[in-house]
Amino acid sequence: MDYLVKKNIIKKNKVIIDVGSKYIKLLGVHYANKKITITNAQKIDSSLFFNDNELVNVGELVRNIDRIMSKNKNVEISLSIPTSIVNSKIVSVKNKKVAELAKYIEREHTTFSKVSPLTHIIDYAYLGSREENGDSIHYCLVAAVSKNSVNLILDEFNKRKLKISTISYPIYDLVNLSELYHGDFENMNRLMIDFGVSGTRVVAFYEGVAVYVRDINIGVNTYLEKLFECQESLGKPEIFKLISAVGEMKILTMESLKKLFSSMNKEAYFNIVNEVSSQLAKDIFRIAEMCENNNAAITKIICGGFMIKGFDERLKQNGDMEVESFDLNLLENVSGRDFIVQLGNAHVDSTFNNAIGLAINTFM
């Protein structure tokens, strides 16, 4: 059906749901005339449904989604599940025909780490190809999720007669989002980073093709846990509020922010934030370095998601790379190869990036 939408034969509405460990992001999307119009954007606090970054209360999560979608029950849903329940890797295949890839991947790459076709749903996406020393190298993203996890989610959605047509995950959403940078020929070697609450996803692009993915185990929760350990008297919600408002910015002007530090040692806060940010930046630069060692010097970093304030400045100071924060609200014309993304009346911040990537998936 996506093919008909892509070829502008039919119009379609979809609901995109990105399940994160802090928020569930919902986008109402309308596809028509090769345009993706975001008609609605909503966030639900999902921290109650997660325990130690594990989705524990699926029923309650779906009930909340159902409450919001009560008027659009017949609309197809594209669901992005948390990275924590997905195992994935990028595989490179040399000198094979594209038509032969499916069989090759099924034979060679369906058993990795704890993944097995018996217990997992395994699928792959073709990412692209490039030429190297006369060889044609194809890249595919292989992902697997346990059947139990998916069936649990599907059962809850089916109970409420909500139709899921696609299940994706944040790394693949990032790959899709990169379609919006297809025309940035000066920065064909780039990193796309999705800062999440539980972790940070990095996708490295070489000559415009995603060649490497990494899930760094540092997210907003890392800051939160360390600050909470240091100052237990301050509750986690207050610390989260502090991280969101201050981040790494040492210049504080607002009285309300100053008040926040009345119960938190400012020096200790910045030390912890600096420590975590340094570790995260180090991991990111290590990926960039690895790319450089493979003759793919990264020239640009595109950041999205829940990035703490001032982290982009840290990336700029410590590297020679251009750093850009992706924000749909700041861009006038956002277009892929043969489609345009438009904002309707909805307001979307950078945490909706994965949902936007999943919305773009229909046109891929």
Partner: protein
Amino acid sequence: MQGNKKLNLLPMDVKNKYDNRYMIYVSSVVCSILALVLAVMYCNIGILNFSIKNLQNENAQYTSQQSKIEGLQKVIAENKKFIESYSNSNFPFYQFMNALESYRPYNLTIISVDSVDRLANEGEQEVKTEGETVEPTASPTPNKKDAEDTSKALPKLEYVKDLSDEKIVLRGYGESQEAISNYINSLSHLPYIADTQVSAIEQHKINEMDVNLFEVILIGKRGADFEN
């Protein structure tokens, strides 16, 4: 991104369910289009059959009409043949009478048009009628006998069917001699008149008016002699 293989972590049976549903949609659309096309074709065939039947009926009517027309054409051809043969072998009397009236000036009056032999017979009849009036006192019995004798003695009136090569006597009067001469001149130029002879032009008084009485003898021609 080349190719179009996308990642979807839905279980295969659910994906197939969607694919099957779309296949059902597509096949139902295709089937309904086919059914529509067949229905349209069936309707077209019906319309064509109807028009073929109509054309066949019209053709049958046309054939019968054609045979009738052929019959009538034969009759017309026979009639034409007859008319042609008639007009070729006889004097065109109707045209002549028509010409007499159409060429006649307003101040000229025609008294009579007769063939010469008829005039001669009329003269004999008049003479006999005058003879009877001479002896009106004869007894009734011999009168019967006389009547029988008279009927035996009366010449039989015979009208010439064809006036070609015959003399036609035209009598009339006009106020001026010029009108009379113009009229005679016009008649003399008629194609079916072979010759014109003026017998007499005399001045008389009619209703105390001076008029010129005239008599002209016209000799008729056969149709075949002047046509072509």
